[in-house]
């Protein structure tokens, strides 16, 4: 591709800059608010745009005794959920894409129906089921619902289908078993899809609030989202605005790290390029 074709017109550049500024403005505003004292913001929230700035809100977050625990809980739950989703969806995707078995299409359709069922519709029976099994306030209790990932199954199925069947035939001719074919030949080829699915699952699990709110009801089992929310005073948006914004920034730092590390996969996924 020539350098000339990469050049962007000034009008488009201005448009992009304006768009970027609009996108970034709330984030910058949040960051600036987080660096101001609560009392100053209660008098005038526009004070965020002028110094002096302070780290007192971040100090207050870190000094809360349970924050490291909530961070650890979020990491365990998010990583556990991500690993589980990748394993299950890869296996299911391979099965639906490559194996012939009775009711395969019906089963896939059933899985896809899951995409149309909102979490709120199943929250009561799920909560009761977990209560009967004694799973509340436990890591499995926080992770298991996240493993139900119809989108992941669909995504991996489509990816496996896009891989030429000739590869299977060649490997089988060389004496590979079904598992060897899956594990050593096809799975490595799905790494871009795995990365995309993994990043989205991690982000979704990290940001999840609703299920941890009602399943983890003791402070030491809170995830970071629920823990930080519990730290807020009433009328935090007025008398604790700086602290509230610092919490938002703090909670998003791991997400930012994941985004920076996996930027390419996320952009590819958003562009629909992961499934070839």
């Amino acid at each position: 591709m020539s350098r000339g074709r990469d050049r962007i017109s000034p009008v488009a550049l201005v448009g992009l800059l304006i768009g970027a500024a609009i996108m970034v403005a709330p984030l910058v505003w949040t960051l600036l608010l987080s660096l101001k004292s609560n009392s100053e913001l209660m008098r005038d929230s526009a004070a965020a745009f002028s110094p002096p700035y302070t780290l007192e809100n971040y100090h207050a977050i870190l000094a809360a005794s349970l924050v490291p625990r909530w961070l650890l809980n979020s990491l365990i739950v998010s990583l556990g959920t991500t690993a589980g989703v990748l394993i299950l969806c890869s296996l299911a995707g391979y099965g639906f894409a490559r194996l012939q078995f009775p009711f395969r299409r019906t089963l896939l359709a059933l899985v896809l129906i899951g995409l149309a069922i909102p979490e709120q519709a199943v929250i009561l029976p799920r909560h009761q089921l977990f209560a009967q099994l004694g799973l509340h306030n436990s890591y499995p209790g926080l992770m298991l619902p996240g493993l139900v990932a119809p989108f992941g199954v669909f995504f991996m199925t489509q990816y496996f289908r896009a891989i030429p069947v000739e590869l299977d035939e060649a490997a089988m001719l060389d004496g590979a078993s079904r598992f060897t074919l899956f594990w050593k030949v096809l799975l490595p080829l799905t790494l871009p899809a795995q990365a995309t699915l993994g990043v989205f699952t991690f982000l979704g699990s990290w940001n999840d609030y609703w299920w941890p709110l009602i399943s983890a009801t003791t402070s030491d089992r809170f995830t970071l989202t629920v823990g930080l929310a519990s730290s807020q005073m009433n009328y935090a948006q007025t008398s604790g605005l700086g602290f509230l914004m610092a919490q938002a920034v703090f909670a998003s730092i791991p997400i930012l790290v994941v985004y920076v590390l996996f930027q390419k996969q996320i952009v590819r996924a958003m562009a629909g390029a992961a499934v070839r």
Partner: protein, 430 residues
């Protein structure tokens, strides 16, 4: 070495033989500042005062361990989930207006006996506190405070408008006088008489409406499934609110944060809002150079109709129904007794006490403005104990009143719709 290992191991395996009670509360987290403090007298903020109280209780009762569960405001989704899972805590902070929702479903234990063990009877509570916790003739919670709407007043602007007498604000005594004062205030100062949080704050209009209906002894909820809000009295009140808005006598389109800032910066005369803002505004009043410096007063809602009244709510300690051992019950009783003895300290948050004895304490009267607002502990009224889903009802009423106040709907239509929608909600109650 073996001995040392055995000693270490025995230390690790040592069990905590204290009686454990699980206390679930909102009010936020402040462990960074008050995590180990037992000095209740110097603690500040709701969270700080409550945390030091609990620390002090544990220090004074070494045989009891209080396990604290801090929940996201207001914590009711979690509490409901805990009930569903069959594992609710021992004591929970709850708004008095919410108690009926749980009590009507048999989820709460009556606390008469437990409180009696701690030497507490219903007679010890203020009238507002009693009204908030007694259901079907039994005490279902220990009231902790009374919160309600007050007129927070910028006395410098009121003086500019000639609405001060002997250092005290002159408040209206009728709807007509309120409009006169407001118009005069605006002409004299160029600023609105009222600052109101009318956006995203359903409590604002509903608090006004309930307050002035209670002042006329109106029966808003004749029974558990009926609201009667489409009445001449309600119409008169909402029309007054509509006139205030239409004539520019109030700030418009402000949410709670914007209204709070507006009052802090002297952009209007009176901010009708709750007891919880006394502390922050008092701090502004003590800060030289600030618009409210030496220019802040706070009074109960003026008596515009009928008798003095205020629609109030309050925080309370409820005890979810579950099996408990005798030592646990004794520990809970001691804990409640300990808190009750320190109800004065809680009133430093700005809330009114739930115990009558605190009202008479010299140190309570010495707190800023408490002498002016203490009457609310007696005049404060709540909805009948049988009214459930008060928060949802408030949301529906607020939508309709807001539509009427801003002119989107005629007042009559809005009240008709409000009554219909609330009655539909109440008809679906189990």
């Amino acid at each position: 070495m073996i001995m040392l290992a055995a000693l270490l191991l025995s230390g690790c395996l040592q069990t905590d033989d204290r009686t454990t009670i699980v206390v679930q509360r909102f009010f936020g987290e402040c462990g960074a500042v008050y995590g180990t403090s037992t000095d209740v007298a110097t603690a500040e903020s709701e969270c700080g005062i409550l945390m030091t109280m609990i620390n002090a209780f544990e220090a004074a009762n070494p045989d009891v361990r209080v396990k604290i569960n801090v929940v996201a405001w207001p914590g009711y989704p979690q509490l409901s989930a805990q009930f569903a899972a069959g594992d609710p805590p021992d004591l929970v902070t709850m708004h008095q207006s919410v108690i009926s929702d749980y009590q009507a479903r048999g989820l709460l234990d009556p606390m008469d006996g437990l409180l009696a063990q701690a030497g507490i009877t219903a007679e010890d509570f203020t009238a507002a506190g009693r009204a908030g916790v007694i259901k079907d003739g039994q005490i279902y919670a220990m009231p902790w405070d009374t919160v309600g709407g007050l007129f927070h007043i910028n006395t410098a602007l009121m003086a500019e408008a000639g609405l001060m007498r002997e250092g005290r604000p002159i408040l209206p005594e009728s709807p007509e006088q309120l409009l006169d004062h407001a118009r005069h205030f605006r002409a004299a100062t160029g600023k609105p008489y009222l600052i109101q949080a009318q956006v995203n704050d359903p409590a604002t209009h509903v608090r006004n409406l309930y307050t002035y209906l209670l002042a006329q002894d109106a029966q808003i909820f004749p029974d558990a499934r009926t609201i009667r809000i489409n009445t001449p009295r309600a119409r008169e009140i909402v029309k007054l609110l509509r006139t205030i808005h239409a004539d520019g006598l109030t700030t418009r389109s402000q949410d709670f944060s914007a209204a709070t800032q507006a009052f802090t910066n002297g952009e209007g005369g009176i901010f009708p809002v709750g007891t919880w803002m006394i502390g922050p505004y008092e701090e502004e009043a003590r800060t030289p150079g600030r618009p409210l410096y030496n220019s802040y007063a706070v009074m109960p809602y003026p008596s515009l109709y009928g008798r003095p009244a205020a629609f109030v709510d309050g925080h309370a300690w409820i005890m979810p129904k579950r099996k408990r051992s005798d030592p646990e019950l004794r520990a809970i009783s001691r804990f409640l007794g300990f808190l009750a003895e320190r109800n004065y300290d809680w009133t430093r948050t700005g809330h009114l006490p739930a115990f009558k004895s605190v009202l008479d304490l010299p140190q309570f009267e010495a707190l800023p403005h408490r002498g002016d607002i203490a009457a609310m502990a007696a005049t404060g009224g709540q909805l009948p104990a049988y009214v459930q889903r008060q928060s949802a009802i408030q949301g529906l009423l607020a939508e309709e009143i807001e539509a009427a106040v801003t002119g989107l709907k005629p007042v009559d239509t809005a009240l008709e719709d409000a009554e219909r929608r609330v009655n539909e909600l109440l008809s679906q109650m189990l």
